[in-house]
Amino acid sequence: MQVDWIWGLAGGLLIGIGGAVYLLFNGRIMGASGIIGGLVDGSGLDTKWERLSFLVGVFLLPIVLYPLYREVNPHITDNLLILVAAGLFVGVGTRLANGCTSGHGVCGMSRLSLRGFVATACYILAGGIGVLIFRHLFGVI
């Protein structure tokens, strides 16, 4: 438990390096919701291979690292209703807002984007209230 923050920092640095590579070489903002969303609604089909290559990288590296760990458990709830509701909210919300934790959070705030700060404040606030209500009030998560 005490070393979690070190892994968090190290992993964070890797995430930032990924974003830096995507920006400096490909000239694009590394936002997961935008990269996926552009494929889903068709708005980014002209760059589909670039998007797919990125997503393959995201998917593949954890598979490579997985054997090095004794136990990896994402602790995903088995409550299907929660998963469906959460997925819909995340899908619609990130596309309306044009970004998620990576695009508005990591990429936006690091260039001091006002929209990045406002978006991040909003989703952390809503997430915090959501956890408060659904965990401590209703006890469903």
């Binding site: 670039e50 998917f59 998620c100 990429c107």
Partner: protein
């Protein structure tokens, strides 16, 4: 070449999400759970990620275009509209409920089990209907 660098960027992103613990929903919900057993890890991840990213943004000021020829993204808009606020609030609710956001949901796809498939399918459905929601929102609020 573009695909190769996109793959590399995705690889760094996926590896970073994995080793930081951000594919563990309990760590994400732990960060949001200010009134419970609060877990500060996410702040270190976010802070760590912003260091190389801020340097990269500084480098873009000294160059006219990206290494592979594309123009850099334009200066960000300062417009705070309802779509940004309502969308981010909606995203936050979903993020808190499941402890998942778009990046980690892809990174954990190989070991997240059936529950994660359900989440990703719902997220993709949400992204597909988002343009219609956006149109409705603009109709209700025409003042933008």
């Amino acid at each position: 070449m573009r695909n190769l660098f996109a793959f590399a960027a995705g690889g760094f992103f996926g590896a970073g999400l994995f080793i930081s613990g951000m594919t563990d929903t309990t760590k994400v919900q732990g960060w949001l759970d200010v009134f419970g057993a609060w877990d500060p890890t996410l702040a270190f991840v976010m802070g760590g990620a912003m260091i190389p990213m801020a340097i990269a943004w500084l480098i873009t000021r000294r160059r006219t275009s990206a290494v592979l020829g594309t123009a850099f993204p334009p200066t960000p808009s300062r417009k705070i509209d309802r779509k940004l606020v309502i969308g981010s609030l909606m995203f936050g609710v979903g993020w808190g409920l499941a402890g998942l956001c778009p990046g980690p949901s892809i990174a954990a796809l190989s070991y997240g089990g059936v529950g994660l498939y359900v989440f990703v399918a719902a997220m993709i459905t949400g992204m597909a209907i988002a343009p219609f929601v956006r149109t409705r929102l603009e109709k209700i609020v025409p003042a933008e």
